[in-house]
Symmetry: C2
Subunit: 352 residues, 2 copies
């Protein structure tokens, strides 16, 4: 079969996600937010958090783990701070709502921070940070997730891959954009290496004793970012953990049931945390913009190692996005097969 | 000479710093803040940022790079956000003032963020984060500094070691406390290895072409945290850079004159950024405290690699602090010799 047959346009992929979500009974807010978050990741080339997750979310919505008709409510607020209850929605629903609130609070107070209770899988944290940057603000997003990453010197799964994301507007171009797991690599990479039979890089994965391994089949846990300096990666995971779980009273990573576990009925009670900062609250807009411009331009033109190039955070993602905007994206075989099933079940035409 | 003769009590070290600073003409606020920041680092075992810097600060105060009688002023404010002008003070003066303002703003708005203009060397960023935690709040501190760290794939000094620090109160014990350079190691470590002749760890330092080296004598720049995944460390340095320099309109790392350069007359125009978060703005205090307690206790008792142990961020620092509280600290020969000179110049008795 020709690979070109698996290439679909982003707009039709967006249409497919929305229709399948609606057909399964998700309300409009859920279909919209879930699709936007999935499409953000797919567009930017973060395929681990892209449309391949649609089938998983549908399973969780049908099973009851996720609420098809959530009511996202403000449960408390104090000044520039609010807490939302996510009502066990698909994670993008309260996350976008929280960032919208944070942006509004930042408009009033210069900064806004919003915690989310009763959340679920958040998708790509960057989706919400970028949302703030598109409104001219600095956005930050954090969440925790079920344990996969050992501590520095640890021999058990402790933190989730607990991402830290920040996006900052740059005049006339896409935002400066960081969205990083606080482990060196995502578990998805291990699965990929298992299927290709390749060896993992040094210092990113450990066996069941916490000893580093390059064999993806022996990998029981991920290492925190930093290898020999993994106390830094573990500390950064702690920042995400404290913001997301402790400040919301939600489950710590090691108390969260596995995302891919069999129970699709029980809500997982994750927390999450977003923040927005209005640059003009600190400095006039022209100064802020000139600073960002000089920062990224100097970065991009600074000397690189022989044969390599330097990039600002987000440069790679936005390049993929422009390519996929123009040429569409090729669905991997597993996702395509899941889509065929969803297409049949919900009577929704496949993306073309 | 017996090493015990170089061991001094923390309280007398504190006295010595204050008296030397006062004798050189620094005003009370400067003597107090500078001493507190130096003693925080020395007490916690972060000797690179401890009292060994006193002689450097005195030189900069005498030379005019640092203002002996600064007037720290609020230059703008909007809601939960303020900007202070540091008036070229020793960096701890506006940094403590900024954290005090952030704590006050957090009391009113749940969160407070304060940028600092016309700052100088910040010392250990953790000093200010811990200040918030001692008041029951979450504290964060960021600053940039003169370039020493290459980009991922880069072949020139680009970012400073741009620290990220966070401290979080834990009931009945010292705070959870992270204070990390966004490079793998500080340049200080390279200097130490030069003097001992030891090889550096892999992936932390590079030669003038940006190629990794383990030879401290060939080291021209530091690598960003993460080695093969150094785009993460460089991205984290970017967070500190944007908060500290772009949001304050101050110099980017690559525009900052060297801290150890010969010019002790010209202010360096660094920026910095602190934030405080009131946990009760998000969740009731007992829930927050129970969450932190469970987090650090589970962390400390989780399985470790054979022969190793796991620690929460700060555990090592507070252990050193308790030891030094009881037994004092041994001055290294270079610091002792600098102190002898300061003692003579300013007619201040040596610490005992």
């Amino acid at each position: 079969m020709d690979a070109a047959h698996h290439t679909v346009t982003l707009s039709d992929l967006d249409r497919f996600c929305r229709q399948v979500l609606a057909a399964c009974g998700a309300n409009d807010a859920t279909a919209d937010a879930t699709t936007r978050a999935l499409m953000h990741a797919t567009r930017c080339g973060v395929d681990s958090h892209g449309v391949r997750l649609l089938a998983h979310y549908i399973k969780a919505l049908e099973g009851g783990r996720l609420n098809k008709t959530p009511d996202i409510r403000k449960v408390s607020g104090f000044g520039a701070v609010e807490t939302l209850d996510g009502d066990h929605a698909q994670g993008a629903v309260p996350a976008y709502a929280a960032m919208t609130r944070a942006i509004d609070l930042a408009g009033k107070f210069g900064i806004g921070a919003v915690g989310i209770r009763n959340n679920s899988h958040f998708g790509a944290a960057g989706a919400y940070s970028v949302e703030a940057a598109r409104h001219g603000l600095i956005g930050l997003s954090f969440c925790n997730s079920d344990s996969f990453v050992r501590l520095h010197n640890g021999a058990s799964r402790f933190h989730g891959t607990n991402p830290i994301s920040m996006a900052v507007p740059v005049p006339g171009e896409d935002p400066w954009f960081l969205d990083m797991a606080t482990s060196a690599v995502p578990f998805n990479r291990v699965l990929l290496y298992r299927s290709t039979g390749a060896k993992l890089p040094e210092g990113v994965a450990s066996n069941e004793l916490g000893i580093n391994t390059t064999d993806p089949h022996l990998t029981e846990m991920l290492a925190p970012l930093g290898d020999a300096f993994g106390f830094k990666g573990a500390g950064l995971a702690g920042i995400a953990e404290i913001f997301s779980a402790v400040l919301t009273g939600m489950r710590l990573s090691f108390d969260i049931p596995s995302m891919m576990g069999e129970d699709m009925q029980t809500p997982r009670q994750l927390g999450a945390f977003v923040m927005a900062i209005q640059p003009e609250a600190f400095v006039d807009r022209p100064t802020f913009e000139a600073g960002m411009k000089r920062y990224v331009e100097t970065l991009r033109t600074s000397p690189a190692r022989a044969g390599a190039s330097v990039m600002a955070p987000g440069d790679r993602e936005w390049k993929v996005a422009r390519h996929r905007d123009a040429h569409g994206v090729e669905l991997d075989p597993v996702t395509r097969s899941a889509f065929l099933e969803l297409s049949g079940t919900y009577n929704v035409p496949m993306p073309a």
